[in-house]
């Protein structure tokens, strides 16, 4: 047989090859921060359950530079997650009124609107 199909292997660094892949990878990496943050809340609650002093120490630790850097990074990735999640939302929810398929724009906007309300709500509650 003269055939000899050539198989190309995907390099491990494939996600650096195209910008769109890299931003996909950034989106995916948001999970590390989101997961870590969830665990951090568990730790905080644990400290809370231990008593006032222990919880105070936890709050102090949040002020450490390391914690601040982590949270700053986490916020950036959480925002990447939010933006990418919203932009893909219309794909999951096709809307059609009569013959016309609606474009995804309104769905995305609705998500942002809810997001702003939720965030403002949390901020308000936190300030009271």
């Amino acid at each position: 047989m003269s055939r000899k199909p050539y198989l190309r292997k995907m390099p491990k660094s494939w996600w650096l090859a195209r910008r769109s892949y890299t931003s996909y990878m950034a989106r995916e990496l948001s999970c590390v921060f989101i997961g870590a943050y969830s665990l951090l809340i568990v730790v905080g609650l644990h400290r809370l359950s231990q008593g006032r002093d222990e919880y105070g120490a936890f709050l102090d630790a949040l002020q450490s530079p390391l914690s601040l850097v982590f949270h700053a990074a986490a916020l950036v990735f959480a925002l990447i997650h939010t933006v990418s999640w919203f932009s893909l939302a219309p794909k999951a929810m096709p809307l059609q009124i009569g013959e016309k398929k609606l474009s995804g724009g309104p769905v995305v906007l609705a998500h942002y609107a809810v997001w702003i309300v939720v965030s403002a709500g949390v901020l308000l509650v936190a300030r009271i």
């Binding site: 190309r8 090859a17 195209r18 996909y24 794909k91 096709p94 013959e99």
Partner: protein
């Protein structure tokens, strides 16, 4: 005035003589209404008869001329030289498929997958010709119309890293076509298609990279089809859980 020219770098691979693919550069005249396919045809006609690639319609509808052009999956009959000039154009066979020769990719895998999702109407009940056509309103048609536009060009497979990483993944176009029939009012075959579509190698291998939809020249939006299938399959699963005696 000297003629304007453009350099085209083509990944060549001749299985009978080459160990590995390698780039070869050709210089072609530049015309602002030429597409990359015109440049390839020029090379084949005037410079190198041994260059192999597929094409037929030259009007972006037969789906045979998909290639990587400067790293992006594109139809070479719909990629205009004017968008690259005066820079070089780099042409490679579709990513994620084995190379048969030069720009010709081996796409058997897709054909098998397409077949596996049963892309045809499976009616509840056979309808006789005498009964005439079904009624289907424009609204019902529009619900699936977009997914009928697939020309099987496989740009989406070349764009999808999950297909590259997991060759068993059924992949965007086949899943979009399964979805197309599921949404068709004439069809009752969803359950049969779900065997493949809702399996591990079906929609679950998709991590929603979304590049398939970006690459698609016909706005099929396979990412949306897959996403919707995931949701519907999840609902099925919970339904079956709540009603274990129901029809499986």
């Amino acid at each position: 005035m000297t003629e304007q020219t453009l350099q085209v770098e083509i990944l060549r691979y001749r299985p009978e003589t080459d160990q590995d693919p390698a780039f070869q550069t050709y210089t072609v005249p530049y015309r602002d209404d030429w597409v990359v396919l015109d440049a390839l045809n020029h090379i084949k006609d005037n410079i190198d008869r041994t260059l192999s690639y597929r094409w037929s319609c030259h009007m972006a509808v037969c789906g045979s001329c998909g290639m990587m052009i400067n790293g992006e999956p594109k139809l070479s009959c719909h990629a205009f030289l004017r968008d690259y000039y005066p820079n070089k154009v780099r042409v490679e066979p579709l990513a994620n498929f084995p190379i048969e020769r030069d720009l010709v990719a081996v796409t058997d895998d897709f054909m098998e997958k397409l077949e596996s999702v049963k892309p045809y109407v499976i009616p509840q009940q056979e309808r006789a010709v005498d009964e005439g056509p079904h009624l289907q309103t424009p609204a019902q048609l529009n619900a699936f119309k977009q997914y009928t536009m697939c020309i099987n060009c496989l740009l989406c497979y070349a764009a999808c890293p999950q297909y590259g990483l997991t060759p068993d993944f059924v992949g965007p176009a086949a899943l979009a076509l399964a979805h197309r029939y599921n949404l068709d009012t004439r069809d009752a075959g969803r359950e049969q298609r779900q065997e493949i579509a809702a399996s591990n190698e079906g929609v679950w291998d998709c991590t929603f990279v979304g590049e398939c939809s970006q690459a698609c020249p016909k706005s099929v939006d396979p990412a949306a089809a897959i996403q919707q299938t995931k949701i519907a399959s999840t609902i099925d699963w919970y339904k079956a859980l709540l009603n274990p005696w129901g029809k499986r």
